[in-house]
Assembly symmetry: C3
Homo-oligomer: 203 residues x 3
Amino acid sequence: MLLFVVQLVGIVAFAASGALAAVRARLDVFGIVVLALTTALGGGIIRDVLLGVHPPETLRTWPYLLVATVTGLIAVWFHPQLARLRWSVLVADAVGLGLFVTAGTATALAHELPAYSACLVGMTAGIGGGAMRDILLRQIPLVLRREIYALAALAGAVVVVCGAELRLPEVPVTLVGSVLVVALRLLAIWRNWNAPTARRPPP
Amino acid sequence: MLLFVVQLVGIVAFAASGALAAVRARLDVFGIVVLALTTALGGGIIRDVLLGVHPPETLRTWPYLLVATVTGLIAVWFHPQLARLRWSVLVADAVGLGLFVTAGTATALAHELPAYSACLVGMTAGIGGGAMRDILLRQIPLVLRREIYALAALAGAVVVVCGAELRLPEVPVTLVGSVLVVALRLLAIWRNWNAPTARRPPP
Amino acid sequence: MLLFVVQLVGIVAFAASGALAAVRARLDVFGIVVLALTTALGGGIIRDVLLGVHPPETLRTWPYLLVATVTGLIAVWFHPQLARLRWSVLVADAVGLGLFVTAGTATALAHELPAYSACLVGMTAGIGGGAMRDILLRQIPLVLRREIYALAALAGAVVVVCGAELRLPEVPVTLVGSVLVVALRLLAIWRNWNAPTARRPPP
């Protein structure tokens, strides 16, 4: 129940980020809702396709669809207010990333994937929706260049895997992993941390 | 048999739209054929991956592959004539959308998906090929901005789902749904209908 | 064993091409590694999703992941040297294409796909990773415009299918197919062969 509520919050956050990006790209109402749905549900769909869960859980769970659609519609009418709440959107996006990564990793472990595979699947579940949003809007996915986005996701996945190895109870481990992802993301945004780029290529 | 013929017509239409877009992007012959195949078969492949049909039906059905390839090759040599037939291409694209949406929704219902999931899968089947075409050519998918494209697809999917709920015979329901999609799309193009965009974001 | 070694070489090659492209796009270290992994593993993941292999073999085989990650990290620090080795990168990319196409086609045949479907799946396995790399970096996939890239892949797939039809032993057939792909690609690069484009569209 706790996880379900938090997952809904994550879907709201990702749907809002997709809808706001669509508003900025001048899409119409249906484009905005389509992009909100894609961003909110894309990561989970990719995860379930990789794990062989048919049909994907996110396509079967109507509250997810309802919440993502409503969030998209709200963003159409209230996007100026939402844009002013940029900080809360970033926080919610980090929360969504944290929860989707840890839940995705735990789901992959439950399907008996080895630890490193579960980490990759979990990271894909957290990152995939935002990457689809950026590809559809013709942008280089922010995960490829934003402040330690992939590293935060990896840290959360590793926590879940270590917890499973040590047979710790699943719920607190998932929460610790999620909080770690959120903390790393917010610290990176706040301090403007960035991973090093390669040395400048010769001209 | 009727459905098979109409589906082939839809594949011809989508293959032609992909090939013509590839010609405009100055791709070579193989690029054009690859894009024709991707546009014609992409939606069905995504549908079958979501439903867990392995391998996807469109990859196993050789007339689909043959028709899409031949259409692509014809477009290479006759694209000036085809481009003049812009209206018939748009009609064919609408026919393809209508049929793929209704057939996709019916297929999803046959796999015992709930109604709202079947609508989403059917819409994805109709929209997916064109979206892949636009992503490969670095364009924002037209479905995200074109006149009520997604709404027409949704209407067709809802007709199929309602027909199944009321246990109406499948073939006429599929035809009614397809005709509704085509009519909505052509009306939208003819009258230049567009869904409202969000209010202009503050500068 | 031979195949495993050659497949690792192919992964190194694709990982290097993805990492070098990421360096040119000014991505940070994590972006470079993510792109190296995507390019090296993407084709195999698409192949296994189409064939219904869950989870995809490349996600379960840790040497593949390790080699791709290490290659990405090496490219971060030594990319000027690698860029000077442009010819060897192109050779390695051709080797990777050749092996992934033939191995993918053989895998698809082992899943009892018909011959033409196996060719398509094999070509997708060889081409998919590079296409994902280019889409993530907002480029029209080079396979759509580069010198007979798709034709070389098709030739390799046809060799494997014909060998299976004639019940020839699998290993030499795979090697012959791979060598044919590599030879065609290198000849095309060396002689600057290109497939014809469509006649110029009217202005």
